[in-house]
């Protein structure tokens, strides 16, 4: 009981420190903190201490999850109502939802999808078009998820005979096709000009443009989307975890390791693969809808190959197959470029170098998936 309390307190303190780090750490302080983290990872003694700490966390999963939830809810206050960082974190959570979806393709059945931004675009445009026609946000989001599920199913249908490098190429083509379609179907998407004035989300008279007035504090309007994204992220995590825990998750792992083996035990492999690709694509619909409504403006430039690769990188960096890992990976990769702004022109160089160093020392990602111990990826 006492330990559980300590776990919760330390996690909450972690969130407060994270907020402090985001707002205040700049220049040399930031460099010192990053160097410190690398030292901890490099020195065996401190690394062992860190592992022991993690083990204590894992021994109290309920307390840890509860504290994470409370910490996330309090984060806007920890951030001193700083609209900029609250916005950055909302976008980071949208990327995390995409990473969870891509993880179904890459992590569960080992399909390298280089066109996930294409699905993200389909979701964003589907939601926007319905929303502009007057539909409420929740309906537009459900519609976007359905459209993405169908699109993913079609993508799966046309690529089910391929795997490995060939699936990657098919999806690469898919991403480019979607982008070209958006540019050229101007009657529907307004092409390169993009769609502006996407309506704000409103619920019971409260819209996402209004501040949240809690009496004691007045949270900035960005907080609306922060909480919306938080709910969506938690929902995505629960959904993906739910499917991992039943026969579907078991067959995912078995299929990834040996398609012939599972086909001899009654699994219709092509059908199952199509449904899995569709399921993973559905998350892009949710992310796309949130993204479009949060930014209020979408254009083909938001859905390039670079965005696909960024999602892919967050899955690999966070730990392929580990839901918690890919979430953390996506948040780090979305926040890092913002924190590295002080480097000016060297920003992307440092970003790339960070990725390379991390993957040299942790080839299975920051938080590896225990199911993959005997796999070589």
């Amino acid at each position: 009981m006492l330990r559980a309390g300590l776990v919760m307190l330390s996690i909450l303190a972690g969130f407060a420190l994270l907020a402090l780090f985001l707002r205040k750490a700049e220049g040399m302080v930031l460099a010192a903190i990053v160097a410190g983290i690398f030292t901890i990872v490099a020195l065996p003694a401190s690394r062992n201490a860190a592992w022991r700490g993690l083990a204590i966390l894992q021994a109290h999963p309920r307390a840890a999850v509860a504290a994470c939830a409370i910490g996330a809810v309090l984060l806007p206050i920890f951030l001193h109502n700083d609209g900029y960082w609250i916005h950055v974190l909302s976008i980071a959570m949208i990327f995390a939802i995409m990473a969870i979806g891509l993880n179904v393709h890459l992590g569960e059945i080992g399909l390298v999808n280089l066109g996930y931004a294409g699905l993200f675009a389909v979701g964003a445009y589907a939601s926007t078009l319905l929303s502009q026609a007057g539909a409420p946000f929740w309906l537009a989001t459900l519609f976007a998820m359905t459209v993405c599920w169908t699109t993913g199913g079609l993508l799966g249908f046309f690529s089910v005979r391929t795997s490995g490098d060939y699936f990657a190429l098919v999806t690469l083509g898919f991403g480019l096709i979607v982008q070209q379609l958006i540019i050229n179907l101007t009657w529907l998407t307004q092409g390169n000009n993009g769609i502006t004035n996407i309506p704000a989300v409103s619920m019971l008279g409260h819209t996402s443009k209004m501040p949240i007035d809690l009496g004691i504090v007045r949270l900035v309007p960005e907080t609306n989307f922060f909480y919306l994204c938080l709910v969506a992220l938690c929902g995505s995590l629960v959904l993906a975890r739910h499917y991992q825990k039943v026969w579907i998750g078991r067959m995912w792992t078995a299929l990834r390791q040996d398609a012939i083996g599972v086909s001899c035990f009654g699994l219709d492999v092509p059908r199952f693969k199509i449904l899995t690709v569709a399921f993973g694509s559905m998350f892009a619909g949710l992310a796309g809808s949130l993204f479009a409504h949060e930014i209020g403006f979408i254009s083909p430039d938001d859905f390039t190959l670079l965005h696909s690769v960024e999602v892919l990188a967050s899955v690999i960096l966070g730990g392929i197959g580990n839901l918690f890992g890919v979430t953390v990976g996506a948040i780090i990769l979305s926040v890092a470029p913002e924190k590295l702004r002080f480097l000016g022109d060297y920003r992307l160089l440092m970003y790339g170098a960070m990725l390379v160093v991390l993957l040299i020392y942790r080839p299975l990602g920051l938080l590896p998936d225990p199911r993959r111990r005997f796999e070589s990826f």
Binding site: Y243, D258, S263, C264, F374
Partner: protein
């Protein structure tokens, strides 16, 4: 033929890989409840026969029929064949190494316990009940085939020795209650003690009423488990009969030991 009815009827099963005739028209009948051994030198087409029967490899010709089903098995996909009650093990073990023993055996229980994707989302209780049933069946199969492993179902397969992995494959095939089991080299790489244990396992599985086709190189093993033996060489069946019959068959002796004077012919 024996008095019992033919369960699996293979006629003219053929498979060519380019110019290589891996199977050149095999006729073979498996009777209900019997253990039929399939032997032959390396490359004689034994595993190809199994791959044809389970749909892993597309046949070039021939028919395979079950006693009570009109369909030609050679036209079906692996998962459709599985539905007809045929399960197999693999020569090169095909298990998910990062998963637990139980998780691997559960793969074999997939057919009876699957639910739809919608059910998983909307009726979690039904799904949980099915999962519990599957776990019960898998544990029962484990206790039946590998009692020692059934006490530690959460061990990770990748950490287990080779013989245990073989048993997990057997349990995974048994759990779906198939009518016919195809067992590919169950004793390969095992020491004499483990080999006799596996032989006992197979006899126990047969005693459950399953018909078994088993490939093996170890003659003593085959002599123990099989009531009848078919010998393949170069994709053809060269002999069939009891262990005593094939042991003295001149064709079999020639294929394993070479014909008298062959080495002289080769040297010339």
């Amino acid at each position: 033929m024996t008095a019992s009815a033919t369960l699996l009827d293979i006629r003219g099963a053929a498979k060519s890989f380019g110019g290589v005739r891996a199977l050149d028209g095999i006729d073979l009948q498996l009777a209900a409840g019997e253990v039929l051994g399939v032997i032959g030198p390396n490359g004689s087409g034994k595993t190809t026969l199994f791959n044809l029967l389970t749909g892993v490899v597309r046949a070039s010709g021939g028919t395979v029929r079950l006693a009570d089903s009109g369909a030609n098995l050679l036209d079906l996909k692996p998962w459709e064949i599985s539905t007809l009650g045929i399960a197999r093990t693999f020569q090169n073990i095909r298990l998910a190494l990062g998963q637990s023993v139980l998780q691997n055996v559960l793969v074999g229980a997939y057919r009876q316990n699957r639910t739809s994707w919608w059910q998983v989302l909307l009726t979690p209780q039904t799904v949980a009940a099915r999962e519990a049933q599957a776990v019960e069946k898998a544990m029962e199969a484990l206790r039946f085939v590998a009692p020692a492993l059934a006490t530690t179902p959460d061990r990770i397969v990748g950490e287990l020795p080779y013989a245990d992995r073989r048993r997990i494959e057997l349990a995974r095939a048994v759990v779906g209650d198939p009518r016919i089991m195809l067992i590919d080299e169950p004793a390969a790489g095992m020491n004499p003690h483990e080999t006799s244990e596996i032989a006992d396992d197979i006899l126990r599985i047969a005693a459950r009423g399953m018909s078994i086709l088993v490939i093996e190189h170890k003659m003593k093993f085959i002599a123990t488990v099989a009531s009848r033996i078919a010998v393949l060489n170069f994709g053809r069946k060269i002999a069939e009969g009891s262990y005593e019959q094939i042991r003295t068959d001149p064709n079999v002796l020639a294929s394993y030991l070479g014909r008298k004077g062959d080495h002289l012919a080769a040297a010339r």
